[in-house]
Symmetry: C2
Subunit: 207 residues, 2 copies
């Protein structure tokens, strides 16, 4: 099992935290608002602790469960507290119309995080193709990308502990295309597919 | 059933043509090399005809089953012969490393086709997330994008006639992200997923 820290106290932190506790992982929660972190830790149970914003996380895997424009600022603020950590960005940087990305360059939040993360940290993109309700109720595939092969095995093991299938799409530059798959997911939902109650996955062929 | 024209005589033309004939569609094949078009039409059977390169296609739906760098030149060459047609681009404009797109701008072959297609044509992206072998043997989901709602219904009906599920991801600008999903598909295969014998799909949630 893994030791993870959730930076963020919103809906995605709660949903991933719930699955993480159910999967037997050690979970820590951190939030700018300490009372929210305390409340979420209590709600998650299973020995979940609340850390202090900006302190060294107890988790080897640090999930930034933040809105997309909060991820780089938070990682910047944590700075060397994240040395040696696997940082997992789950955000969707949609544009205002939800039909494209907010960045004009072919980058991703995860790639921007990698630019400012401390040496010895590794950065991943994961979970962003999954609606929260689907992550709560289903067994969606989890597409993920990252460059560090050892840490990647750890992230894959964590995803498996959630009862989900990790699908390695390649290096961190693929995070841009995973963000695009987030746009496609919203596009499909907007065109009536599955009443939004679906997730993209990789389906083996049966004749 | 639909009336389609395949521009191209390669493997994808053969695969889509085979399914199209099996689905009861009227099929025409066109190739720069007339003898290849004649041969493919004969091989497909089911009343498949071979048209003449550059002539007005008999099909209402025209599928450019060409390598990505051949699509815009072919549509340019056909010019007004494509007035009123639904043009379906199926190409994957991969870069040399197969880990990104060949264009540096956030565009797609389909969007570039739309820029030079004659007035009264509508352009779609479809089929590019599916390996040929999977399209031959399986029942993969077909993600597609386009702007013209009436022609979109026709394209969806054609996809259904192939025994496949059309998944409307939105307007033609989504073609860029569908091309990105092509990159992800190759990335997954390169990281061992399904031995390449899979396709991306949209899976409804079951608890």
């Amino acid at each position: 099992m893994s030791s993870i820290t959730l930076i963020g106290t919103g809906n995605m932190a709660r949903t991933i935290g719930t699955r993480a506790v159910a999967g037997g992982n050690t979970v820590e929660v951190m939030g700018r608002d300490q009372s929210k972190a305390d409340d979420l830790a209590k709600a998650l149970g299973g020995g979940t602790t609340a850390g202090k914003w900006g302190a060294v996380p107890t988790g080897d895997i640090v999930i930034t469960a933040l809105l997309h424009d909060g991820v780089v600022p938070a990682v910047t603020e944590y700075g060397d507290a994240l040395v040696g950590k696997a940082i997992v960005d789950i955000s969707n940087p949609f544009n205002a119309a939800f039909d494209g990305l907010a960045h004009s360059e072919p980058t991703s939040i995860a790639q921007e995080v990698a630019k400012i993360a401390p040496a010895g940290a590794s950065v991943f993109k994961a979970f962003n193709t999954i609606f929260r309700g689907v992550l709560e109720q289903g067994r969606p595939d989890v597409f993920f990308a990252g460059d560090d092969s050892q840490a990647k095995a750890d992230v894959a093991a964590f995803i498996e502990s959630l009862g989900l299938r990790p699908l390695d799409v390649g290096g961190l530059k693929m995070a841009h295309w995973l963000e695009g798959m987030g746009v496609v997911t919203v596009g499909l939902a907007g065109h009536g597919v599955g009443h939004g109650n679906f997730a993209l996955g990789a389906n083996e062929v049966t004749a």
